[in-house]
Symmetry: C2
DNA sequence: TGTTAGCACTCGAAGTTAGTGAGTGCTAAT
DNA sequence: ATTAGCACTCACTAACTTCGAGTGCTAACA
């Protein structure tokens, strides 16, 4: 373990480097932090910290920069602190802005990414909620004029999807009702996942009577479920990356932006839900993906009720103000959860 | 007017510059194009072309580059040619890819931007269709379980919007039907635009009987209409800009990306519908917006039936292969129109 | 009169060199 | 164990040089 002085020096270097983006020399530390020892001593300690893997030198006559291991140490310490006091005013301020133009969940997330990137000056990410573990409470087929039929999928959290389609032939309202009942018998209480399996086999066998319309309904339900599966990625503030001195080479910029614009990668990045922790950090080389091995990713879960259904996050050079950013992200995640609750509650519950 | 030789030289310079991105010297022209005159003559002609405003010199001892005026001349000539033969195979190839994952119009446009940017290596843009000039054929209120009501707005092109909301109190199906009739009486045949006005005044006065639910319904309809108004911008291939030698300075990149990511600006850029022409070009300094005064924008309209409802486009440095790009864009616009017709036809008509 | 060869001149790009200064690491003294 | 002192390192910058593609002018030519 690191002794107290080494830790103080390491933290001093981290803090200075976060601000300046320049390698930190021993004299800088002695001048800015009153540690009561000379620069020569600091130099010795820094040399030790380098041997231990907490510091790196860009070249032999430069100052030191913190390694990913150093950030990890620093951040783990931060995460141990309980987030007891939330800055209520700031939280409510953000909430007010978020609510303003968010009538639907996708708007909310788009909006959140926008505000989050503005607040943090980092690139912000969000992933749309995963609804597929929701249980179906009710399926309803509703006739509309002229052979058009509406299918509504309702879960205990409210309406999750409605689609309108057109039948080939006329069907009586009575027939639709019977079909509605059959579908509900078979599917109620199942998750979207399970419905997917069930639809193709069991049901079709049992309702030959409705063959003429079931051929239409099944694909539509399938399609609706597919839409529920489908995830959306919202990002904002990509240009923020260009303000960091780390990104002055076009090649790095290209790699970064290409990466963030790749939906599949983003989905993967924001999907591995460890539900145990609400804030997660991946620091530099801990990243699986090459293009962001010198970036850190901070993510926070948002919830529907007590169920984690999605994530928001920010990404940027490892040299970041973890303390402030973790707090910001925490505020956003709480706000998003609360607003989702409100939106679904207001409209459907 | 330019005589034939000047024109040939100018086109030669444009073509060479489009390929090389380097200022073109007189010797390059004599070597690559067999014009039957020496480089000295070319030099004299180039000097004239410069005086006429068709060529620029980056500095006194460099070759020439085409001015925006030159591109305008070149492009206007291109646009005069009729697009008689469309490359049918290419069109169908693209169509097949576009259809594949486009079950809804927004997916189609997102997809189009993606493929368009891949095909052209430029940044591709698309704007969602403007539906607000559509006429309402029918409004329907449908009761769903548990105080929830569905509102469907149907135009002659099909369903344009459906929303589910929840009432404070129980309302009988009969009441809903009556209300449906009243709403249809008042609103049928109006455009979305007009409905917006009508809703707030006339209607409310006439249906005091339904005060308890009308207070809910009006805002929902308003909201639905607002959603129909709301435009979406789809962009893809932003990183393509980084491959152009014109964009090797981070500042330029930042300006460009910030510009393209600004939704309001993009809406403005893609909104001024001149319905007379299907392909439009804005070249370099013709652009109103500072950040893209050295870019060209090519846009093409897409239609629903014979009505122009939106645009797709590409944007990049003025030095572009206008001929190929105009053709590509034209193919896409035709395909998009056809697929929209199919989508709306299949699902609703 | 239009075209061309010849040549001096221009100017950015790329390469070279020298100087600067922040920073390290070692040694010897405290 | 700490520190002052000092030689050494090395990226960065600025000034200078070289190089070459390209122009524009002049004078000769068809």
């Amino acid at each position: 373990m690191l002794d107290d002085r080494k830790l103080k020096i390491l933290y001093a270097i981290i803090n200075s480097y976060i601000l300046s983006a320049e390698p930190i020399g021993s004299r800088t530390i002695t001048k800015q932090y009153n540690l009561g020892v000379s620069s020569a001593t600091i130099r010795n300690e820094m040399s030790d910290l380098e041997d231990l893997g907490y510091l790196n030198k860009p070249h032999s006559s430069a100052g030191r920069i913190p390694s990913d291991k150093a950030y990890r140490l620093y951040v783990d310490e931060l995460l141990k602190l309980k987030r007891t006091e939330v800055n209520t005013k700031k939280k409510e301020d953000i909430k007010r802005i978020l609510i303003k133009e968010s009538r639907e969940i996708d708007q909310l997330l788009q909006n959140s990414a926008k505000i989050l990137s503005a607040v943090t000056s980092y690139t912000a990410l969000a992933i749309s909620p995963k609804m597929k573990s929701l249980k179906i409470k009710h399926i309803q087929l509703v006739p509309i004029e002229n052979k058009q039929v509406l299918i509504v999928l309702i879960s205990d959290t409210g309406v999750v999807k409605n689609t309108i389609f057109r039948l080939q032939e006329d069907v009586s309202e009575e027939q639709l009702n019977t079909l509605t009942n059959i579908l509900n018998d078979k599917l109620r209480g199942l998750t979207m996942d399970q419905i997917d399996d069930r639809l193709s086999s069991e049901i079709i066998r049992e309702i030959y009577d409705f063959k003429n319309i079931i051929d239409n309904v099944i694909p539509i339900i399938n399609q609706s479920i597919e839409d529920i599966y489908s995830v959306e990625i919202y990002s904002d503030g990509i240009t923020n990356i260009l303000n960091f001195p780390e990104y002055k080479s076009i090649d790095k910029v290209k790699n970064f932006i290409s990466f963030v614009e790749d939906k599949d990668l983003m989905v993967d990045l924001l999907s591995n839900n460890s539900i145990t922790q609400d804030i997660e950090l991946i620091i530099g080389s801990e990243n699986v993906y090459e293009p962001i091995k010198d970036c850190s990713l901070i993510t926070a879960n948002y919830r529907l009720g007590d169920k984690v259904i999605g994530k928001i996050g920010i990404i940027g050079p490892t040299r970041m103000d973890y303390q402030k950013l973790i707090e910001d992200l925490y505020l956003f995640s709480i706000n998003i959860s609360e607003i989702i609750d409100m939106l679904i509650g207001k409209q459907y519950k």
